[in-house]
Amino acid sequence: MTPSAADARAAAETAARDAYGRLLARLVRRTRDIAAAEDALSDAFAKALAVWPETGVPAAPEAWLTTVATNAARDAARRRATGDGAIPTLQLLAEEISARDPVADERLTLILAASHPAIATAVHAPLILQVVFGVPVHEIAPAFLMAPSALGQRLVRAKAKIKNAGIRLDVGAHERPARLARALDAVYALYTVARAAPPSATAEARAGDALTLALLIADLARDEPEAFGLVSLIAFSESRRPAARVDGAYVPLSKQDCALWDARLLALAEGQLARAARHRVAGPYQLEAAIQSVHCNRRRTGATEWAVIATLYDARVAMAPSVGAEVARAVAHAEAFGPAQGLALLAEISGEKAERYQPYWAVRAHLEAASGQESSQAADRAIEMTGDEAVRSHLKAQR
Protein backbone atom coordinates (compact mmCIF):
# COMPACT_ATOMS: atom_id res chain seq x y z
CA MET A 1 0.00 0.00 0.00
CA THR A 2 1.37 3.43 -0.93
CA PRO A 3 1.51 6.05 1.84
CA SER A 4 -1.35 8.06 0.33
CA ALA A 5 -3.54 4.95 0.03
CA ALA A 6 -2.78 4.15 3.66
CA ASP A 7 -3.76 7.68 4.64
CA ALA A 8 -7.02 7.40 2.72
CA ARG A 9 -7.77 4.11 4.41
CA ALA A 10 -7.07 5.57 7.85
CA ALA A 11 -9.33 8.53 7.07
CA ALA A 12 -12.09 6.16 5.94
CA GLU A 13 -11.79 4.11 9.11
CA THR A 14 -12.03 7.22 11.28
CA ALA A 15 -15.08 8.40 9.37
CA ALA A 16 -16.78 5.02 9.71
CA ARG A 17 -16.21 4.98 13.45
CA ASP A 18 -17.44 8.56 13.82
CA ALA A 19 -20.61 7.96 11.85
CA TYR A 20 -21.22 4.67 13.62
CA GLY A 21 -20.95 6.17 17.09
CA ARG A 22 -23.06 9.19 16.21
CA LEU A 23 -25.82 7.15 14.55
CA LEU A 24 -25.86 4.66 17.40
CA ALA A 25 -26.16 7.46 19.96
CA ARG A 26 -29.17 8.87 18.08
CA LEU A 27 -30.81 5.45 17.81
CA VAL A 28 -30.30 4.70 21.47
CA ARG A 29 -31.95 7.99 22.30
CA ARG A 30 -35.04 6.78 20.43
CA THR A 31 -35.06 3.11 21.36
CA ARG A 32 -33.33 3.25 24.78
CA ASP A 33 -32.01 -0.20 23.88
CA ILE A 34 -28.31 -0.38 23.00
CA ALA A 35 -28.25 -4.02 21.89
CA ALA A 36 -31.29 -3.55 19.63
CA ALA A 37 -29.82 -0.31 18.24
CA GLU A 38 -26.58 -2.12 17.36
CA ASP A 39 -28.53 -4.79 15.48
CA ALA A 40 -30.70 -2.24 13.73
CA LEU A 41 -27.71 -0.18 12.62
CA SER A 42 -26.07 -3.28 11.14
CA ASP A 43 -29.27 -3.90 9.20
CA ALA A 44 -29.39 -0.32 7.96
CA PHE A 45 -25.78 -0.43 6.73
CA ALA A 46 -26.50 -3.72 4.97
CA LYS A 47 -29.55 -2.23 3.26
CA ALA A 48 -27.54 0.82 2.22
CA LEU A 49 -24.97 -1.47 0.59
CA ALA A 50 -27.71 -3.20 -1.37
CA VAL A 51 -29.71 -0.12 -2.38
CA TRP A 52 -27.35 2.83 -2.79
CA PRO A 53 -25.29 1.45 -5.68
CA GLU A 54 -28.53 1.44 -7.72
CA THR A 55 -30.37 4.50 -6.42
CA GLY A 56 -27.34 6.61 -5.63
CA VAL A 57 -26.40 7.92 -2.19
CA PRO A 58 -29.36 9.83 -0.70
CA ALA A 59 -29.12 13.58 -0.10
CA ALA A 60 -29.11 13.10 3.68
CA PRO A 61 -27.44 9.71 4.20
CA GLU A 62 -27.39 9.80 8.00
CA ALA A 63 -31.11 10.61 8.13
CA TRP A 64 -31.74 7.77 5.67
CA LEU A 65 -29.76 5.37 7.81
CA THR A 66 -31.50 6.55 10.96
CA THR A 67 -34.95 5.98 9.46
CA VAL A 68 -34.09 2.54 8.13
CA ALA A 69 -32.43 1.57 11.41
CA THR A 70 -35.39 2.83 13.44
CA ASN A 71 -37.71 0.69 11.30
CA ALA A 72 -35.37 -2.26 11.65
CA ALA A 73 -35.40 -1.81 15.43
CA ARG A 74 -39.17 -2.22 15.29
CA ASP A 75 -38.82 -5.34 13.22
CA ALA A 76 -39.31 -8.28 15.54
CA ALA A 77 -37.18 -10.56 13.41
CA ARG A 78 -33.64 -9.26 13.78
CA ARG A 79 -31.27 -10.26 11.08
CA ARG A 80 -27.67 -11.19 11.51
CA ALA A 81 -24.89 -8.60 11.33
CA THR A 82 -23.22 -8.00 7.96
CA GLY A 83 -20.28 -10.20 7.01
CA ASP A 84 -16.72 -8.95 7.15
CA GLY A 85 -16.56 -8.64 3.36
CA ALA A 86 -18.85 -5.62 3.49
CA ILE A 87 -16.68 -3.62 5.89
CA PRO A 88 -14.35 -1.76 3.46
CA THR A 89 -17.31 -0.58 1.39
CA LEU A 90 -19.09 0.50 4.56
CA GLN A 91 -16.07 2.54 5.54
CA LEU A 92 -16.10 4.38 2.23
CA LEU A 93 -19.85 4.99 2.46
CA ALA A 94 -19.44 6.26 5.98
CA GLU A 95 -16.67 8.61 4.88
CA GLU A 96 -19.02 10.10 2.35
CA ILE A 97 -21.78 10.37 4.95
CA SER A 98 -19.52 12.08 7.41
CA ALA A 99 -18.43 14.69 4.87
CA ARG A 100 -21.89 15.44 3.50
CA ASP A 101 -24.25 15.20 6.44
CA PRO A 102 -22.86 16.54 9.69
CA VAL A 103 -25.30 16.11 12.60
CA ALA A 104 -25.36 17.04 16.24
CA ASP A 105 -22.96 14.86 18.20
CA GLU A 106 -24.87 12.90 20.84
CA ARG A 107 -21.99 10.62 21.67
CA LEU A 108 -21.30 12.54 24.87
CA THR A 109 -24.91 11.87 25.95
CA LEU A 110 -24.36 8.16 25.46
CA ILE A 111 -21.01 8.33 27.24
CA LEU A 112 -22.55 10.05 30.27
CA ALA A 113 -25.46 7.56 30.32
CA ALA A 114 -23.03 4.64 30.28
CA SER A 115 -21.26 6.26 33.25
CA HIS A 116 -24.37 5.95 35.48
CA PRO A 117 -23.49 4.82 39.02
CA ALA A 118 -26.09 2.01 38.77
CA ILE A 119 -23.77 0.42 36.18
CA ALA A 120 -20.76 -1.31 37.76
CA THR A 121 -17.76 1.06 37.68
CA ALA A 122 -15.49 -1.56 36.15
CA VAL A 123 -17.80 -1.73 33.12
CA HIS A 124 -18.11 2.03 32.35
CA ALA A 125 -15.06 2.40 30.16
CA PRO A 126 -15.39 -0.96 28.37
CA LEU A 127 -19.05 -0.17 27.64
CA ILE A 128 -18.19 3.21 26.13
CA LEU A 129 -15.34 1.74 24.10
CA GLN A 130 -17.54 -0.98 22.66
CA VAL A 131 -20.73 1.00 22.11
CA VAL A 132 -19.47 4.44 21.07
CA PHE A 133 -16.22 3.46 19.36
CA GLY A 134 -16.96 -0.07 18.23
CA VAL A 135 -13.79 -1.54 19.80
CA PRO A 136 -14.07 -5.36 19.89
CA VAL A 137 -14.30 -7.03 23.31
CA HIS A 138 -11.12 -9.08 22.81
CA GLU A 139 -9.12 -5.86 22.38
CA ILE A 140 -10.71 -4.16 25.38
CA ALA A 141 -10.45 -7.00 27.88
CA PRO A 142 -6.62 -7.12 28.33
CA ALA A 143 -6.48 -3.38 29.10
CA PHE A 144 -8.91 -3.93 31.97
CA LEU A 145 -7.31 -7.16 33.21
CA MET A 146 -10.46 -9.13 32.41
CA ALA A 147 -11.07 -12.31 30.47
CA PRO A 148 -12.90 -11.52 27.17
CA SER A 149 -15.75 -13.95 27.89
CA ALA A 150 -16.37 -12.46 31.35
CA LEU A 151 -16.23 -8.90 29.98
CA GLY A 152 -18.60 -9.83 27.15
CA GLN A 153 -21.18 -11.10 29.63
CA ARG A 154 -20.89 -8.00 31.79
CA LEU A 155 -21.41 -5.75 28.76
CA VAL A 156 -24.53 -7.65 27.73
CA ARG A 157 -25.87 -7.30 31.27
CA ALA A 158 -25.06 -3.57 31.41
CA LYS A 159 -26.90 -2.89 28.13
CA ALA A 160 -29.90 -4.86 29.40
CA LYS A 161 -29.87 -2.86 32.62
CA ILE A 162 -29.79 0.52 30.85
CA LYS A 163 -32.88 -0.59 28.96
CA ASN A 164 -34.82 -2.43 31.67
CA ALA A 165 -33.96 -0.39 34.75
CA GLY A 166 -35.01 2.90 33.15
CA ILE A 167 -31.65 4.70 33.25
CA ARG A 168 -32.24 8.24 32.00
CA LEU A 169 -30.21 9.43 29.03
CA ASP A 170 -30.08 13.09 30.06
CA VAL A 171 -27.91 13.89 33.03
CA GLY A 172 -29.01 16.36 35.72
CA ALA A 173 -26.71 19.24 36.68
CA HIS A 174 -25.82 17.86 40.12
CA GLU A 175 -24.89 14.48 38.61
CA ARG A 176 -22.71 15.94 35.90
CA PRO A 177 -19.30 16.31 37.63
CA ALA A 178 -19.20 12.69 38.82
CA ARG A 179 -20.32 11.42 35.41
CA LEU A 180 -17.76 13.60 33.67
CA ALA A 181 -14.99 12.19 35.85
CA ARG A 182 -16.02 8.68 34.81
CA ALA A 183 -16.21 9.74 31.18
CA LEU A 184 -12.63 11.07 31.40
CA ASP A 185 -11.53 7.70 32.76
CA ALA A 186 -13.17 6.07 29.77
CA VAL A 187 -11.44 8.39 27.29
CA TYR A 188 -8.09 7.68 28.89
CA ALA A 189 -8.91 3.97 28.73
CA LEU A 190 -9.52 4.36 25.00
CA TYR A 191 -6.10 5.95 24.64
CA THR A 192 -4.47 3.19 26.68
CA VAL A 193 -6.12 0.50 24.58
CA ALA A 194 -4.94 2.19 21.37
CA ARG A 195 -1.36 2.48 22.53
CA ALA A 196 -1.17 -0.99 24.05
CA ALA A 197 -2.03 -2.51 20.68
CA PRO A 198 0.57 -3.15 17.96
CA PRO A 199 1.03 -0.06 15.74
CA SER A 200 -1.60 0.13 12.99
CA ALA A 201 -3.81 2.63 11.21
CA THR A 202 -6.64 1.63 13.55
CA ALA A 203 -4.52 2.18 16.66
CA GLU A 204 -3.44 5.59 15.31
CA ALA A 205 -7.05 6.54 14.62
CA ARG A 206 -8.19 5.46 18.09
CA ALA A 207 -5.43 7.43 19.78
CA GLY A 208 -6.50 10.41 17.68
CA ASP A 209 -10.14 9.81 18.71
CA ALA A 210 -9.11 9.85 22.36
CA LEU A 211 -7.36 13.21 22.02
CA THR A 212 -10.28 14.64 20.02
CA LEU A 213 -12.80 13.42 22.58
CA ALA A 214 -10.75 14.71 25.51
CA LEU A 215 -10.65 18.13 23.81
CA LEU A 216 -14.42 17.92 23.20
CA ILE A 217 -15.14 17.18 26.86
CA ALA A 218 -12.71 19.87 28.02
CA ASP A 219 -14.52 22.31 25.75
CA LEU A 220 -17.95 21.33 27.12
CA ALA A 221 -16.83 21.23 30.75
CA ARG A 222 -14.76 24.35 31.25
CA ASP A 223 -15.13 24.12 35.02
CA GLU A 224 -13.42 20.73 35.23
CA PRO A 225 -9.60 21.06 35.47
CA GLU A 226 -9.16 17.30 35.18
CA ALA A 227 -10.47 17.50 31.60
CA PHE A 228 -7.61 19.88 30.73
CA GLY A 229 -5.28 17.58 32.67
CA LEU A 230 -6.34 14.64 30.52
CA VAL A 231 -5.86 16.56 27.25
CA SER A 232 -2.41 17.54 28.50
CA LEU A 233 -1.52 13.97 29.49
CA ILE A 234 -2.54 12.52 26.12
CA ALA A 235 -0.81 15.31 24.20
CA PHE A 236 2.43 14.74 26.16
CA SER A 237 2.32 11.01 25.45
CA GLU A 238 1.56 11.56 21.77
CA SER A 239 4.31 14.16 21.39
CA ARG A 240 6.90 11.50 22.16
CA ARG A 241 5.59 8.95 19.67
CA PRO A 242 8.08 9.87 16.91
CA ALA A 243 10.98 9.13 19.28
CA ALA A 244 9.55 5.89 20.71
CA ARG A 245 10.42 3.86 17.62
CA VAL A 246 13.60 4.19 15.59
CA ASP A 247 13.87 1.91 12.54
CA GLY A 248 11.04 -0.17 13.96
CA ALA A 249 12.85 -0.78 17.26
CA TYR A 250 11.24 0.26 20.56
CA VAL A 251 13.09 3.02 22.47
CA PRO A 252 12.20 3.50 26.16
CA LEU A 253 11.48 7.04 27.36
CA SER A 254 14.79 7.52 29.16
CA LYS A 255 16.80 6.74 25.99
CA GLN A 256 14.68 8.74 23.54
CA ASP A 257 16.16 11.54 21.43
CA CYS A 258 14.18 14.58 22.68
CA ALA A 259 14.82 16.45 19.45
CA LEU A 260 12.31 14.06 17.84
CA TRP A 261 9.50 15.01 20.24
CA ASP A 262 6.65 16.86 18.51
CA ALA A 263 6.97 20.54 19.49
CA ARG A 264 3.38 21.41 18.49
CA LEU A 265 1.86 18.71 20.74
CA LEU A 266 4.24 19.63 23.57
CA ALA A 267 3.03 23.24 23.37
CA LEU A 268 -0.60 22.04 23.51
CA ALA A 269 0.21 19.83 26.50
CA GLU A 270 1.99 22.56 28.47
CA GLY A 271 -0.76 25.08 27.67
CA GLN A 272 -3.54 22.75 28.87
CA LEU A 273 -1.62 21.87 32.03
CA ALA A 274 -1.19 25.55 32.85
CA ARG A 275 -4.90 26.10 32.21
CA ALA A 276 -5.80 23.24 34.57
CA ALA A 277 -3.45 24.57 37.25
CA ARG A 278 -5.31 27.91 37.35
CA HIS A 279 -8.27 26.09 38.99
CA ARG A 280 -6.00 25.12 41.92
CA VAL A 281 -7.71 21.74 42.36
CA ALA A 282 -5.29 18.86 41.80
CA GLY A 283 -6.38 15.52 40.38
CA PRO A 284 -4.88 12.28 39.06
CA TYR A 285 -4.75 13.37 35.42
CA GLN A 286 -3.12 16.69 36.23
CA LEU A 287 -0.49 14.86 38.32
CA GLU A 288 0.16 12.42 35.48
CA ALA A 289 0.52 15.33 33.08
CA ALA A 290 2.88 17.11 35.51
CA ILE A 291 5.03 13.95 35.57
CA GLN A 292 5.14 14.02 31.77
CA SER A 293 6.06 17.68 31.91
CA VAL A 294 9.09 16.87 34.09
CA HIS A 295 10.17 14.21 31.57
CA CYS A 296 9.89 16.72 28.76
CA ASN A 297 12.06 19.21 30.66
CA ARG A 298 14.92 16.97 29.59
CA ARG A 299 14.73 18.79 26.26
CA ARG A 300 15.94 21.94 28.00
CA THR A 301 18.06 20.66 30.89
CA GLY A 302 19.49 17.44 29.41
CA ALA A 303 18.71 15.52 32.62
CA THR A 304 15.61 13.83 34.11
CA GLU A 305 14.74 14.89 37.64
CA TRP A 306 13.68 11.47 38.91
CA ALA A 307 13.33 12.56 42.54
CA VAL A 308 10.67 15.10 41.50
CA ILE A 309 8.90 12.43 39.46
CA ALA A 310 9.02 10.02 42.41
CA THR A 311 7.37 12.65 44.65
CA LEU A 312 4.66 13.31 42.06
CA TYR A 313 3.97 9.57 41.81
CA ASP A 314 3.71 9.33 45.61
CA ALA A 315 0.95 11.96 45.45
CA ARG A 316 -0.67 10.23 42.47
CA VAL A 317 -0.82 6.84 44.22
CA ALA A 318 -2.10 8.42 47.46
CA MET A 319 -4.88 10.19 45.52
CA ALA A 320 -6.05 7.31 43.32
CA PRO A 321 -4.27 3.99 43.78
CA SER A 322 -4.03 1.76 40.72
CA VAL A 323 -1.68 -1.00 39.72
CA GLY A 324 -0.40 1.12 36.80
CA ALA A 325 0.47 4.09 39.00
CA GLU A 326 2.07 1.85 41.64
CA VAL A 327 4.32 0.16 39.09
CA ALA A 328 5.28 3.54 37.60
CA ARG A 329 6.07 4.85 41.08
CA ALA A 330 8.39 1.88 41.64
CA VAL A 331 10.23 2.77 38.40
CA ALA A 332 10.64 6.41 39.47
CA HIS A 333 11.96 5.46 42.91
CA ALA A 334 14.34 2.94 41.34
CA GLU A 335 15.73 5.60 39.00
CA ALA A 336 16.03 8.17 41.80
CA PHE A 337 17.17 6.02 44.71
CA GLY A 338 18.36 2.69 43.27
CA PRO A 339 16.78 -0.58 42.06
CA ALA A 340 16.40 -1.98 45.58
CA GLN A 341 13.93 0.83 46.41
CA GLY A 342 11.95 0.02 43.29
CA LEU A 343 11.83 -3.70 44.05
CA ALA A 344 10.66 -2.95 47.60
CA LEU A 345 7.74 -0.91 46.24
CA LEU A 346 6.89 -3.65 43.71
CA ALA A 347 6.75 -6.15 46.56
CA GLU A 348 3.98 -4.07 48.17
CA ILE A 349 1.67 -4.54 45.17
CA SER A 350 -0.74 -7.42 45.70
CA GLY A 351 -0.04 -10.46 43.56
CA GLU A 352 -3.62 -10.60 42.35
CA LYS A 353 -3.49 -7.10 40.84
CA ALA A 354 -0.04 -7.67 39.33
CA GLU A 355 -0.82 -11.10 37.93
CA ARG A 356 -2.15 -9.98 34.54
CA TYR A 357 -0.42 -6.62 34.28
CA GLN A 358 2.44 -6.93 31.80
CA PRO A 359 4.43 -3.81 32.87
CA TYR A 360 4.71 -5.20 36.40
CA TRP A 361 6.64 -8.20 35.07
CA ALA A 362 8.73 -6.14 32.64
CA VAL A 363 9.77 -3.71 35.39
CA ARG A 364 10.45 -6.48 37.87
CA ALA A 365 12.66 -8.30 35.37
CA HIS A 366 14.54 -5.08 34.62
CA LEU A 367 15.09 -4.17 38.29
CA GLU A 368 16.16 -7.70 39.24
CA ALA A 369 18.78 -7.59 36.50
CA ALA A 370 19.89 -4.07 37.47
CA SER A 371 20.39 -5.05 41.11
CA GLY A 372 22.40 -8.13 40.12
CA GLN A 373 19.77 -10.56 41.37
CA GLU A 374 19.35 -13.96 39.85
CA SER A 375 16.42 -13.45 37.47
CA SER A 376 13.11 -15.01 38.42
CA GLN A 377 10.59 -15.93 35.74
CA ALA A 378 9.53 -12.28 35.49
CA ALA A 379 11.27 -11.72 32.14
CA ASP A 380 9.60 -14.76 30.57
CA ARG A 381 6.20 -13.68 31.84
CA ALA A 382 6.67 -10.14 30.51
CA ILE A 383 7.67 -11.41 27.07
CA GLU A 384 4.82 -13.90 27.03
CA MET A 385 2.26 -11.16 27.81
CA THR A 386 3.49 -8.67 25.16
CA GLY A 387 1.51 -8.39 21.95
CA ASP A 388 3.82 -5.82 20.33
CA GLU A 389 6.73 -7.46 18.46
CA ALA A 390 9.07 -4.43 18.83
CA VAL A 391 8.58 -4.34 22.60
CA ARG A 392 9.05 -8.11 22.71
CA SER A 393 12.42 -7.78 20.93
CA HIS A 394 13.43 -5.03 23.33
CA LEU A 395 12.61 -7.25 26.33
CA LYS A 396 14.41 -10.26 24.85
CA ALA A 397 17.53 -8.17 24.22
CA GLN A 398 17.51 -7.05 27.86
CA ARG A 399 17.35 -10.56 29.22
Binding site: T31, R32, H116, G166, I167, R168, G172, E175
Partner: protein, 121 residues
Protein backbone atom coordinates in the same frame (compact mmCIF):
# COMPACT_ATOMS: atom_id res chain seq x y z
CA UNK B 1 -41.86 3.16 35.04
CA UNK B 2 -42.65 1.11 38.08
CA UNK B 3 -40.05 0.13 40.65
CA UNK B 4 -40.28 -2.05 43.74
CA UNK B 5 -38.44 -0.41 46.63
CA UNK B 6 -37.47 -3.12 49.12
CA UNK B 7 -36.56 -1.83 52.56
CA UNK B 8 -33.99 -3.82 54.53
CA UNK B 9 -33.33 -3.04 58.17
CA UNK B 10 -30.73 -4.07 60.73
CA UNK B 11 -31.79 -5.92 63.91
CA UNK B 12 -31.03 -2.73 65.86
CA UNK B 13 -33.34 -0.78 63.62
CA UNK B 14 -36.12 -3.39 64.04
CA UNK B 15 -35.74 -3.21 67.79
CA UNK B 16 -36.69 0.46 67.58
CA UNK B 17 -40.22 -0.53 66.48
CA UNK B 18 -41.06 -1.52 70.04
CA UNK B 19 -38.28 0.30 71.89
CA UNK B 20 -38.30 3.56 73.86
CA UNK B 21 -38.01 5.73 70.70
CA UNK B 22 -40.74 3.88 68.76
CA UNK B 23 -42.57 7.16 68.21
CA UNK B 24 -39.56 8.59 66.37
CA UNK B 25 -39.21 5.35 64.35
CA UNK B 26 -42.83 5.18 63.23
CA UNK B 27 -42.98 8.96 62.78
CA UNK B 28 -40.12 8.86 60.29
CA UNK B 29 -41.78 6.11 58.24
CA UNK B 30 -45.17 7.85 58.35
CA UNK B 31 -43.61 11.08 57.11
CA UNK B 32 -41.74 9.20 54.37
CA UNK B 33 -44.77 7.25 53.13
CA UNK B 34 -46.92 10.39 53.34
CA UNK B 35 -44.42 12.29 51.22
CA UNK B 36 -44.53 9.62 48.48
CA UNK B 37 -48.31 9.48 48.65
CA UNK B 38 -48.56 13.28 48.36
CA UNK B 39 -46.28 13.27 45.29
CA UNK B 40 -48.57 10.66 43.75
CA UNK B 41 -45.76 8.17 43.11
CA UNK B 42 -46.72 5.47 45.62
CA UNK B 43 -48.84 2.62 44.30
CA UNK B 44 -49.09 0.85 47.61
CA UNK B 45 -46.93 -1.29 49.82
CA UNK B 46 -46.76 -2.95 53.21
CA UNK B 47 -44.59 -3.22 56.27
CA UNK B 48 -43.50 -6.77 57.18
CA UNK B 49 -42.91 -8.65 60.43
CA UNK B 50 -39.22 -9.05 61.09
CA UNK B 51 -37.88 -12.55 61.74
CA UNK B 52 -41.24 -14.23 60.97
CA UNK B 53 -40.68 -15.41 57.42
CA UNK B 54 -40.85 -18.94 56.05
CA UNK B 55 -39.08 -20.33 52.98
CA UNK B 56 -40.78 -22.77 50.62
CA UNK B 57 -38.89 -24.61 47.89
CA UNK B 58 -38.82 -28.01 46.22
CA UNK B 59 -36.03 -30.57 46.18
CA UNK B 60 -36.95 -33.20 43.61
CA UNK B 61 -40.30 -34.60 44.63
CA UNK B 62 -40.05 -33.23 48.14
CA UNK B 63 -41.48 -29.92 49.15
CA UNK B 64 -39.32 -28.26 51.77
CA UNK B 65 -40.74 -25.78 54.21
CA UNK B 66 -38.31 -24.19 56.60
CA UNK B 67 -37.77 -21.28 58.89
CA UNK B 68 -35.87 -18.44 57.27
CA UNK B 69 -34.18 -16.81 55.58
CA UNK B 70 -31.87 -16.81 58.57
CA UNK B 71 -31.54 -13.24 59.54
CA UNK B 72 -29.62 -13.16 62.79
CA UNK B 73 -27.41 -10.09 62.77
CA UNK B 74 -28.24 -9.48 59.10
CA UNK B 75 -30.37 -6.92 57.35
CA UNK B 76 -33.83 -8.28 56.74
CA UNK B 77 -36.72 -7.27 54.49
CA UNK B 78 -38.94 -5.00 56.56
CA UNK B 79 -41.31 -3.71 53.93
CA UNK B 80 -41.85 -2.73 50.32
CA UNK B 81 -43.50 -0.11 48.17
CA UNK B 82 -44.25 0.05 44.45
CA UNK B 83 -43.57 3.49 42.99
CA UNK B 84 -44.36 4.86 39.53
CA UNK B 85 -41.75 7.42 38.45
CA UNK B 86 -40.16 8.54 35.15
CA UNK B 87 -36.76 6.88 35.50
CA UNK B 88 -34.22 5.13 37.72
CA UNK B 89 -32.76 8.36 39.09
CA UNK B 90 -36.17 9.42 40.40
CA UNK B 91 -36.63 5.99 42.02
CA UNK B 92 -33.17 6.28 43.59
CA UNK B 93 -34.09 9.67 45.06
CA UNK B 94 -37.10 8.13 46.84
CA UNK B 95 -34.98 5.17 47.96
CA UNK B 96 -32.36 7.48 49.46
CA UNK B 97 -35.03 9.34 51.44
CA UNK B 98 -36.16 6.15 53.27
CA UNK B 99 -35.47 6.03 57.03
CA UNK B 100 -33.63 2.71 56.64
CA UNK B 101 -31.23 4.30 54.10
CA UNK B 102 -29.72 6.32 56.97
CA UNK B 103 -26.20 5.28 58.08
CA UNK B 104 -26.26 1.98 59.99
CA UNK B 105 -30.04 1.52 59.67
CA UNK B 106 -30.09 -0.80 56.66
CA UNK B 107 -30.37 -0.41 52.91
CA UNK B 108 -32.89 -0.17 50.07
CA UNK B 109 -32.98 -2.28 46.93
CA UNK B 110 -34.52 -0.76 43.81
CA UNK B 111 -35.94 -3.31 41.37
CA UNK B 112 -37.46 -2.30 38.04
CA UNK B 113 -40.86 -3.96 37.63
CA UNK B 114 -41.04 -6.14 34.53
CA UNK B 115 -43.17 -4.27 32.00
CA UNK B 116 -44.71 -5.31 28.73
CA UNK B 117 -42.55 -3.80 25.96
CA UNK B 118 -44.22 -1.18 23.79
CA UNK B 119 -42.94 -1.03 20.23
CA UNK B 120 -42.49 2.73 20.07
CA UNK B 121 -41.16 3.28 23.58
Amino acid sequence: MQYALLYFETPTEYARRTGPDQDAYWGAWTTYMGMMHEKGVSQGGQALHPGQSTVVRSAGADRIIEDGPFAEAREELGGFVIVDVPDLDAALTYAQAAPCAAPGAGHVEVHPVLQMQTEDA
